[in-house]
Assembly symmetry: C2
Homo-oligomer: 149 residues x 2
């Protein structure tokens, strides 16, 4: 079930959008709510299907547009694994992604600052990096659960 955004989240969305010169629209609210409701790194199609339950007239093109807007505003990250469909993640903390080879599920892995630092330190002089993507592929046993909001 997709609940609509609470005060706090709507404010965050509002602020990030206007900072990027964009407006808050009903479609954007729904798409953002979908991302927050279930943090399982859905594909565009998954977002589309979930969002349609609450806003049946919503189009796939709009879902693409909304997600692109969110990425542009820094509200959401794209997650790519090999050539699979792009997935979307509203977790703004620095983190890596772990994909379970069997289930296909994607899990967030917290990234301690000291690891970030050691990573940055391997760059030879002259290399300056803004973005570092880390992704694990393997098997994650059991104790899946806990969808925080």
């Amino acid at each position: 079930m997709i609940q609509s955004l609470n005060e706090h989240n709507r404010e965050d969305l509002q602020e990030a959008l206007s900072k990027g010169g964009q407006k808050l629209t009903p479609q954007r609210e729904v798409v953002f709510a979908v991302l927050l409701a279930q943090r399982d790194h859905p594909t565009v199609d998954e977002v589309f299907n979930r969002a349609r339950e609450v806003m049946p007239g919503l189009s796939l093109a709009t879902v693409y547009n909304c997600l692109e807007t969110f990425v542009g505003c820094g509200l959401v990250r794209q997650v790519n694994h090999e050539r699979e469909s792009t997935r979307y993640c509203p977790n703004l903390a620095p983190h890596a992604h772990f994909r379970d080879k069997e289930t296909g599920q994607v899990h967030d892995i917290e990234l301690p600052p000291e690891v970030m630092k050691s990573l940055r330190s391997i760059l030879p002089p002259g290399f300056d990096s803004e973005v570092i993507e880390i992704s694990f592929l393997g098997r994650a046993k059991a104790n899946d659960s806990l969808n925080s909001n």
Copy 2:
């Protein structure tokens, strides 16, 4: 200019292929030679165009097939950055990739074992990973050069 494989490299190719139950063919030799000749992480199309210079009848499908075979035999790695075309890398040492935002060039970054270890250590219990991909996005100034063979 694409030179053909030397003794040593042909042996490596031969061995890796037969270990994977595959044969050494003229097409595979040419495609592999292209990868070794210029280690700039070419796309399939780039490999195709370079290989055609020395073997004009070669087909794009075969380039896809050869590269897939090499990946299967562990001779070559695929490199993906966001949704761009897949690139191919014959560097078998553990390394990360750095993509220059301006030029699009992809550079290898050596990965010291201690960094690999610190990365593996951030996985919570129950998570077991065989493959770790690390990619940097940013700007690399100058001192590009040195295409080792």
